[in-house]
């Protein structure tokens, strides 16, 4: 036994030195040694080869492979009124304005069945289907044995991911988080000089950079000139808790959120010591007036960092942007929209919180190939004359959706867990009632 430990320690020392010198130090100072780039190039080549093999095999066996991004059915986009008018056109009687026919049910039946076959909302709460397999078992939808070489490649990938990449990433993340706690606590002891702010930002960014390396994250920032400034509110689409790490790699933000216990609580308290963030007790969150007031105070203080808010309120699978809650848009101040789009080929970043706990989610992240994403900083927007918070929120949402190539949906992300509001059904019923009795209905 002793012999084993005697041999093990030097290995461990070398391992740590390598990690620190080759990865951590460059990360902290934002320099790149090109290791990640080489890894990514190798990865892309392997995946391309794998895709090629799969396509060749499928052509040989004449299996129809459908692009996952195509829908299953084609739907009409005509309105309720148009469809029902058409249905009534062939009535034997002369058509008066408004009336009921037995054929009216056909419209609701068809749209109902269409939504059973394919709907816009439920698919947003599960991971996106890939166009071609990326050699991870978790994304394998149609497992078929294609060739020996492909299986070997998959096996090699499995070994590499679990025995090399996983320990490496866990080490890095552990170092990163401990550094965050230690560093911010140390900075917190300093008196309030200007230097304190600068040091605090430095500590935060360094730690997030280490964490990003801990996920093998490759991030491309676009339009850096539009980066959020102090006294502003940064608004982005939400896919996973990692969004915070992605954004904080390129700037310092004040976080908003609920006070947690455990590890999260330790991190929150540490961060609070070096620069002001906004953490709410659970009870306080229900008081919307209080929440808005605290956020407004923060924003009006021009020395404080820009706030980072995810108005969707929940994680969506990065194929669409769902309803933005208007609370963030009532605070006033300039909104800096940011669009985040992950490349699902290298690793799926979406956190399906009903299926995976935080820990299993992080493990899945660390055993993916890499996280690759694009971040677009969009020009700042402010509320215009005559525009209310909801319209403003929708305007910002469309801008983000357009930039990120995401589908712009008006549905509430809260539908992940909650039932849909009755008022939406009542809207449909009201519209139909107009068709039945004409415009002089008794409302």
């Amino acid at each position: 036994m002793e012999g084993f430990w005697a041999a093990f320690f030097p290995v461990l020392r070398i391992w740590f030195t390598c990690v620190v010198v080759l990865i951590m130090l460059p990360a902290m100072f934002g320099i790149s040694l090109g290791i990640t780039e080489t890894y990514m190039k190798l990865l892309i080549k392997s995946l391309e080869w794998a895709t090629h093999r799969i396509q060749r095999a499928s052509r040989a066996e004449e299996i129809l492979k459908h692009s996952a991004s195509n829908g299953l059915i084609q739907r009409d986009n005509s309105s309720l009124e148009q469809e029902i008018e058409e249905l009534r056109r062939n009535r034997p009687k002369s058509a008066e304005r408004g009336d009921f026919t037995l054929s009216d049910v056909l419209y609701f039946t068809k749209t109902g069945i269409e939504s059973i076959v394919e709907d816009d909302v439920t698919q947003r709460f599960t991971s996106e289907e890939l166009v071609s397999w990326n050699l991870l078992t978790r994304t394998n939808n149609n497992f078929q044995y294609i060739s020996l070489r492909l299986t070997v490649l998959w096996g090699v990938g499995l070994v590499v991911r679990y025995s090399i990449l996983l320990p490496l990433r866990i080490t890095l993340t552990a170092i990163g988080l401990s550094w965050l706690v230690i560093g911010t606590t140390m900075v917190g002891f300093l008196p309030n000089f200007r230097v304190k702010g600068w040091l605090s930002e430095l500590v935060h960014v360094m730690c997030y950079r280490i964490c990003a390396r801990g996920l093998s994250a490759t991030i491309h920032y676009h339009n850096k000139k539009n980066r959020p400034k102090r006294g502003g509110i940064c608004v982005a689409n939400h896919t996973s808790p990692i969004d915070v790490v992605i954004l904080a790699n390129d700037g310092c933000y004040a976080m908003v959120g609920q006070v947690h216990g455990g590890l999260m609580g330790v991190l929150q308290r540490a961060m609070e010591r070096s620069c002001p963030h906004i953490w709410f007790e659970r009870a306080e969150m229900r008081d919307r007036h209080l929440v808005t007031q605290r956020l407004r105070d923060h924003v009006n203080d021009k020395t404080k960092l820009p706030i980072l808010i995810f108005p969707e309120g929940t994680c969506i699978n990065n194929t669409s942007v769902m309803m933005f809650k208007k609370g963030s848009f009532e605070i006033g101040g300039t909104i800096y929209p940011v669009a985040i789009k992950y490349d699902p080929q290298f690793g799926d970043a979406f956190w399906n919180s009903s299926k995976y706990s935080m820990v299993s989610y992080l493990l899945r992240m660390m055993t993916s190939w890499a996280i690759v994403c694009n971040v677009w900083y969009l020009p700042p927007m402010t509320q215009q004359e005559g525009e209310d918070a909801v319209q403003f929120a929708n305007r910002v949402k469309s801008t983000i959706a357009q930039q990120g190539g995401l589908v712009d949906l008006a549905w509430d992300g809260g539908l992940k867990r909650a039932k849909v509001k009755d008022s939406l059904k009542e809207q449909q019923q009201k519209k139909y009632s107009h068709m039945v009795v004409g415009d002089d209905s008794s409302d």
Binding site: I73, Q74, F108, D119, T122, Q123, K419, K425, Q428, V437
Partner: protein, 195 residues
């Protein structure tokens, strides 16, 4: 989309469903993925709650009746075969020439069967007649609270009067078919699959 979903569907099952419903192989596998993603309990069958989780269906005024159509008499669960059999009513009629459906008797997506599906949305007690009450129930579901009882009653009476030819104050399936004879049921009750 579960990664094991398609492996649970055996080739023999797919062939049988193909013969019975006329869907193609790829349509069946994709609909199976959909079935599987709706099946939150992962027990191979859908309950009414599983359907109601679809927001667009939950706000459809006839949502409950449509969901009902999937469940056979008195049952609370529908398996994949039942799911496909109901959906088969909405296959476009043109596809029959393409796929050469070989079922004996009428295919599930014939005009008559489509009309029968719509008829059954009204005829809850399955006595092959739409009574005034049944008609009122459906009307009430579609208009919500926006129309008064009297107005709704007179609309129902007028509809029955127009359709009823044998004077029993109910609408039979034949009378129903007659009212809708000029409506393009084949198109209005069909879903266009992309593959």
């Amino acid at each position: 989309m579960g990664s094991r979903a398609s492996s649970l569907l055996r080739e023999e099952d797919i062939e049988e469903i193909k013969k019975e419903t006329g869907f193609s192989h790829s349509q069946i596998t994709r609909l199976y993925s959909r079935f599987h993603s709706l099946d939150k309990g992962e027990n191979g069958a859908l309950s009414r709650e599983d359907f109601q989780r679809i927001p667009e269906l939950a706000i459809n005024p006839l949502g409950d009746r449509i969901i009902n159509a999937f469940f056979p008499e008195g049952e609370d669960q529908v398996n994949f075969r039942g799911f496909m059999r109901t959906l088969a009513h909405f296959r476009p009629v043109e596809d029959n020439e393409k796929n050469k459906v070989l079922t004996p008797g009428e295919p599930l997506n014939s005009r008559t069967n489509k009309l029968l599906f719509a008829f059954r949305l009204y005829d809850l007690d399955r006595d092959d007649k739409i009574s005034r009450d049944e008609l009122l129930q459906v009307l009430r579901m579609m208009v919500g609270v926006n129309i008064s009882d009297e107005q709704l009653g007179s609309i129902a009476d007028r509809t029955i009067q127009e359709a009823d030819t044998n004077g029993d104050m109910c609408i039979s399936f034949n009378e129903f078919t007659k009212v809708l004879e000029k409506v393009d049921v084949e198109q209005k009750m069909s879903i266009r699959f992309l593959h």
